[in-house]
Structures are given as structure tokens and as C-alpha cells.
Amino acid sequence: MNWFKFSSPQTFYPLAGRLIPVFWVLAVVLAVAGLYIGFFVAPTDFQQGDAYRIIFIHVPAAWMSMFIYLVMAGWAALGLVLNTRLSSMMASALAPTGALMTFIALWTGSFWGRPTWGTWWVWDARLTSELILLFLYIGFMALHASIDEPRRADKAAAILAIVGVVNVPIIYFSVKWWNTLHQGASVSLTRAPSMATTMLLGMLVMAIAFWMYSIAAALSRVRSIILERERNSAWIGQLQESR
């Protein structure tokens, strides 16, 4: 199979169109399952009561916020180096979803902080670096929006995204490097998880649901970006005629 074939917007557009419904369905099904496990199956925590159930949204969102940034920066770098149109479009399609995830992580986190820490917000390293991540996403979108020529905008935003990658390890390791209020990683590949299995299961199912949602959202956004950017090209004209 020739993967490069799909690096042209023209071939990617219909492919994405076929994939989107699949991801949407998966996202909804998994989210329902995950929420069911989270809210009905998982036991009440003996310390935190039911407040801990925010974890089922908070942690997947926090993971996604960092992961999407890496993917976005990767696409952006690819677009910068190889000058492929589609990669840059993918990067700009991912940014709003990433910002949304970051926002959800922040929002649910501070919602959770109220009962557990007694405050909405503290300035510890993880919270702060997550906030920086939000600013980086916003900066990426703002920079992109304030340059008219799409190709220039792509390149400039790509440079910013690459520079900002430095922030991601800081978020991830912040709990290790500084002793903070926020708790450290409890899910790890190298040792046994320190939480109940049902909880872990619920969290993982939710995480996959968030993945599916992010892919679906990014694909639909990239389709509209393609339509907008390639509006003058011949194949879009044919597309409209064939409708």
C-alpha cells in the first residue's frame, strides 16, 4: 500500500470522510461504557468519597492534552521540513481539540481541588505547566489566525509548536522534579498500578474514548480546512458538481 498516496489532500479527503463515522461511534460507545464503569461499578473511595470520580474525566483529558500537543508538533515539523500541505493542515486541525482537552483537564482538576485541597487553584508546578500548555495552544491558534497567507501561517505556527515541545516533559515530570500538591503518576508500565482494578479499567476505557473523539474531531476539522484551502482547485470543483 502506498502511504504517500494519502498525503495529498485530494485522496485524504474522501478517506477521512469514511473514517469519521467509525470513530464517532467508537467514541460514543466507549464513553458510555467508561462512564457506566466509573459512576456505577467502581466503588466509592474511602478517603475522598464520590468526588474522586472526576478522575474518569480528568486523567484521560490530561493525558490527551499532552499527547495531542506532541502529535501536533510532529505534524507541524513534518509540514515545515517536507512542505507537505496535509501535515500542516493536520496540525492546525488538532490544535483546538488539544486546547479543549487542556481546558477540560484544568477545569475538572480545579473542580476536584475544591473538595480535596480546599481551593480551586494553587500555583504548583504541574498545574502551572498545564496552564502554559493551554497558552501554547492558544498562541499557536492566534499566530496562525493573524497571518493571512495560509502557507506562511503554517510555517510560523510550526516553529512555535516545535519550540513549545519543551513544555511537555516539564508537565509530565513536574510531580517528580518538584514536590507538589498534585499527586504523582499512579499508572505506570513498569510497576503494578496502585489503584483498584475497576477504577483503572474505567479510566482506560475513558482514555480510549477520548482518543476516538479526538481523532474524529480532528478529522472532521481537517476536512473543512481542506475544503477552505483548496477551494480553487479543480478536484473540489468536481466534488461540488458530483453532489
Binding site: S129, F135, L143, A156, I162
Partner: protein, 221 residues
């Protein structure tokens, strides 16, 4: 003369002709720092605790304010095109502009901060750390800053967009810098924070000029 030296010299010469310009980056720093006691109230104990934070935030803002000037006039009058067409590698030219910027904006701040620190009632050891943290931190600010300056060049709304791009990236420098000074009060030793600042500098030094010159090429396209 070597092109790198020529760029450096010209930037300094221009700054000398526009003395008011960099003198006021410096005054800005002093004034911002002095505004806080007015806004916050005059209790000495509280002022002493917040002093490192305020001095560092003011230094950040002062460094940031002077950023647009790094490339803007060169861009508007066409000199940047000429720099891009110089046979010398662009990242080196950018580095030489960055050095000039640091010398004009960072160094004066580092020199002035101890005096202001004493006014806030910091002790001598804290002031010493303040000085070193600024001397290590301000080059990072300049380096990160020029990337932002290059990215927002000729962009609609450049002037303030730069703040949005650059300030978040300044945060680690701020945390380590202000943290270093605060350790003196808690007695845990500043070496750790200062070496983290050094690490920031080591990351920024090779990356920033490269990023900035890529951004400049894009801006002039």
C-alpha cells in the same frame, strides 16, 4: 569587519544614538518594581517575602517590552532582507543581534536589581543570589524572546501577540530565578535552582537562533 561584529556594533551604535530607548527599558523596570509597594501596601515583612517574585516578574516584563524592537525596524526599512542575503549564516547573525539585545536590556537589569532588592529589605546573601540568577536568566529571556519577536514579525497584532507567545515560555525561567532567591530565606541553598537556570540557557542557546532565523525567513517570504 566580520559581519557578525558589524551587526553587533551597529545595534549598539543605534542604541547609543537612541539612548533614551534602552535607558527606559531600565527605568521601566525600576518604576514597575516601585509601583508594587503602592498597590500592595507598605508592610515590610510582606514586601520582603514578595520581593524576589516582583523583581523577577518586572525583569521579565522589561525584557519582553524591548523585544519588538529587535527586528521591527530592520523589517520595516528593508535591512532584514539584506541580512538574509548576507553570505554569513543567518543563525549566527541572529545570535549576534541577541547578544546586543542582552547587553542592552539584560545586563542593566541584573546590575540594578540588587539595589532595588536592598530597598525591599532583602539581605546581602539574597541580593547576591538575585544578581547571579538574573545574570544567568536574562540571556535565556533574550534568546526565547527573539524567537517570539521573529515569529510575530509583520503579523497582524504583532506587538502584543509577542507577549502571548513569549511569556508562557518565560515561566520556567521565572520559577527557577525567583525560586533561587527564595531559597536563601528558607536556607535550602540556591545552587540547584541556579544550575537549572544554566540548563535552560544551554537548551536555548543552540535552539533559539535556529528557530528565530527559520521564523525570519518565513516572515520575509
Amino acid at each position: 569587519m566580520n559581519p557578525l561584529l558589524a551587526v553587533f556594533r551597529r545595534d549598539l551604535l543605534q542604541a547609543w544614538r537612541r539612548r533614551a530607548d534602552w535607558l527606559t527599558t531600565f527605568f521601566f523596570f525600576v518604576i514597575v518594581v516601585s509601583l508594587f509597594p503602592l498597590g500592595v501596601g507598605p508592610e515590610p515583612a510582606m514586601l520582603r517575602t514578595i520581593a524576589p517574585g516582583i523583581l523577577w516578574v518586572a525583569a521579565l516584563l522589561a525584557a519582553m517590552l524591548s523585544l519588538p524592537r529587535v527586528f521591527e525596524s530592520d523589517f520595516a526599512d528593508g535591512a532584514l532582507e539584506q541580512l538574509l542575503l548576507s553570505p554569513e549564516p543567518l543563525p549566527l547573525l541572529v545570535l549576534s543581534k541577541t547578544t546586543a539585545h542582552w547587553l542592552l536590556s539584560g545586563v542593566p537589569l541584573a546590575l540594578m536589581a540588587p539595589v532595588l532588592g536592598l530597598q525591599f529589605g532583602l539581605d546581602v546573601e539574597a541580593v547576591r543570589v538575585l544578581f547571579w540568577s538574573l545574570l544567568l536568566g536574562t540571556p535565556c529571556l533574550s534568546l526565547i524572546g527573539v524567537v517570539g519577536a521573529a515569529l510575530t514579525l509583520g503579523v497582524r497584532g504583532g506587538g502584543v501577540l509577542i507577549a502571548l507567545l513569549v511569556l508562557p515560555l518565560y515561566i520556567p525561567v521565572l520559577i527557577f530565578g525567583a525560586g533561587a532567591v527564595e531559597t536563601v530565606a528558607t536556607g535550602t541553598g540556591a545552587a540547584g535552582h541556579l544550575s537549572l537556570l544554566g540548563a535552560c540557557l544551554c537548551i536555548a542557546l543552540p535552539l533559539a537562533p535556529w528557530g528565530a532565523s527559520a521564523a525570519l525567513r518565513v516572515a520575509l517570504e
